[in-house]
Amino acid sequence: MTVQTSPPATHRRRRLPRELPRFLLLSVLSVLFLAPLYWMLSTSLKFEADAIASPVQWWPRNPTLDNYKEVLTSPDGNILRWTWNSLFVAFTFTIGHVLLCALTAYPLARMNFPGRNAWFWFILSSLMIPGIVTLIPHYIMMLNFNWINSYHALIWPGIAGVFGVFLLRQFFIAIPRELEEAARLDGANSFQILWRIILPLSVPALITLAVFSFMGSWNNFLWPLFTVTEVDKMTLPVGITTFSQRYVTEYGKLMAATTLAAVPVLIAYLIAQRYLEAGLSTTGLKE
């Protein structure tokens, strides 16, 4: 699970002219990749007439924040409220998920007991059950539990995930046994070993799992779309689509709403970029 981020720099700066075509190609591709985001921002700053003007206004001629003001104070739904819902659900889910996975991965990786391998393969084989199979039963269960339109529906069904157990077990196994034995001689019990030795040594794996769980919950769309129908209980991805149905022809407002939904995530990404990409490249991949 080693991460090598950059290859040895055998090509020196002197080679730059030879690298020029590659650089230009990357620049053109970057412009294409950024164009939609630029267009989103640009449209969000235009009055409606300018947003749909023909020929298009590449640059907002009369920039306005009206769209943002309107979207933020709209009686049809509250972006800040949806963001809070998404944050609450994602944080709660992530903490619970990582905790449950760590508790399960620990004995599976570090203890010897009857049924260990059988249980590991049993839960791992559940990864073969496609999510669509449990969609309807989960929905009916939520109805029976009276959990429709509650955070419970968004947090509980996926919390006992199995991929996280797999990831952490792989990581826990690699921790040297000597550390554990030394602690045991000092009188540490198994929980102290988990808490003081295994978990601190597994921070990269725990962060990777946490980032993935958080993003998974934050981006979840299908499930909350059908289990949450009250506007105030919606998460951000779902709430934004209700705007899209309401403002179907008002692109200025729609783009202001999507910008508001996108910008915090983009900023978070730019801050966490290194960890995120390092985590991504260590996940489940081996030569």
């Binding site: 298009v56 010897n112 199995v162 489940g284 081996k286 030569e287």
Partner: protein, 316 residues
């Protein structure tokens, strides 16, 4: 439906220690996860079969047993379920067949372009990765606007370059796939690119040096070194991308709402329509199982890749 795999040839390094009595400790650690796992993973599969074999009516006290009726509907020409289920399944398969090669090739291409040091490398990596962190609904709304029939940026750029009039992308059968596919590539290419970059940095530099001494062109180096060395990661990317594409839902829902006339509707969207719009929960559950069988093939492939990984760890 759960498949238990035999423990197989897993090697345990410790000899079974003779213990006076069963140590309960490991089981206590397993308990919280196991309880939730049973309630939300094992039980729903059985419950799903129960729902699919009964005529589910949310208002009724008891649900009437109908056996395999809902499954048979799916294989009986003439029923709406037959027509729309297979039609949307073919739509989804079409989307998968188009996007997987596109995504594998473009993410590999970007990774090769960005692998060797170049001015602005970190910036470029961020640019290609960034779209992937948007949620599917934001991405969908954005691409619907980009391909707007009248005043979208794509039509505007096309007019600027060729002087041609607007194309009604979103309301033309066949063409409506283009915004969905383009949006999906834009949205997900960065993830796979990052996986490829990690794999490329594991390819030994000395191979390339030896090859250039032998006079291999960069094309030959790619053909004979890079591509074979990337075999495992390409397999992984292909399978995970196919799995993701097969579960197409948000992109087509938000960009085209499945239209025009269901031509871009995904099978997942149809299943949810059957359940949540038509209140045909049993029928939807049956479709979930049948579609799940198709996905099982892909999931099994991914599972095998992961299982190989487990064995690699255990043999250390």
């Amino acid at each position: 439906m759960t498949i238990t795999q035999a423990p197989g040839k897993t090697t345990t390094t410790q000899a079974p220690a003779p213990r006076p009595r069963v140590n309960l400790e490991p089981y206590l650690y397993l308990l919280p996860h196991a309880l939730l796992f049973f309630v939300f993973t094992v039980y729903p599969v059985g419950y799903g079969i129960y729902i699919a074999t009964h005529r589910w009516d949310l208002l009724a006290e008891t649900q009437a047993f109908v056996g395999s009726e809902y499954f048979r509907n799916l294989f009986t020409p003439g029923t709406p379920q037959f027509e729309f289920f297979w039609r949307t399944l073919i739509n989804t398969a079409f989307f998968t067949v188009v996007t997987v090669p596109l995504l594998v090739a473009s993410s590999l291409g970007l990774a090769v372009l960005l692998h060797r040091p170049i001015f602005g490398r970190t910036f470029f990596r961020a640019v290609f990765f960034m779209p992937g962190i948007l949620t599917v609904s934001v991405m969908g709304i954005l691409w619907r606007w980009m391909f707007d029939n009248q005043i979208g940026l794509v039509n505007a750029a096309r007019e600027l370059m060729t002087g041609a009039g607007p194309i009604p992308w979103l309301s033309t059968e066949g063409l409506a796939w283009i915004p969905i596919v383009v949006g999906t590539v834009w949205w997900t290419v960065g993830f796979n690119m990052t996986l490829y970059l990690a794999a490329l940095s594991n390819v030994s530099q000395s191979l390339y040096e030896a090859a250039s001494l032998d006079g291999a062109t960069s094309g030959q180096q790619f053909r004979y070194i890079t591509w074979p060395m990337l075999g495992p990661i390409t397999l992984f990317v292909t399978v995970t991308t196919a799995l993701a594409s097969f579960q197409l839902f948000g992109q087509s829902l938000v960009i085209t709402n499945g239209g025009p006339s269901r031509s871009t509707q995904s099978v997942t969207q149809y299943i949810t329509e059957e359940a949540f719009t038509n209140s045909q929960y049993s029928s939807a559950a049956a479709m979930g199982f049948v579609f799940g069988l198709f996905m099982l093939v892909l999931t099994a492939a991914q599972f095998r890749i992961m299982a190989r990984d487990v064995q690699a760890v255990e043999q250390k």
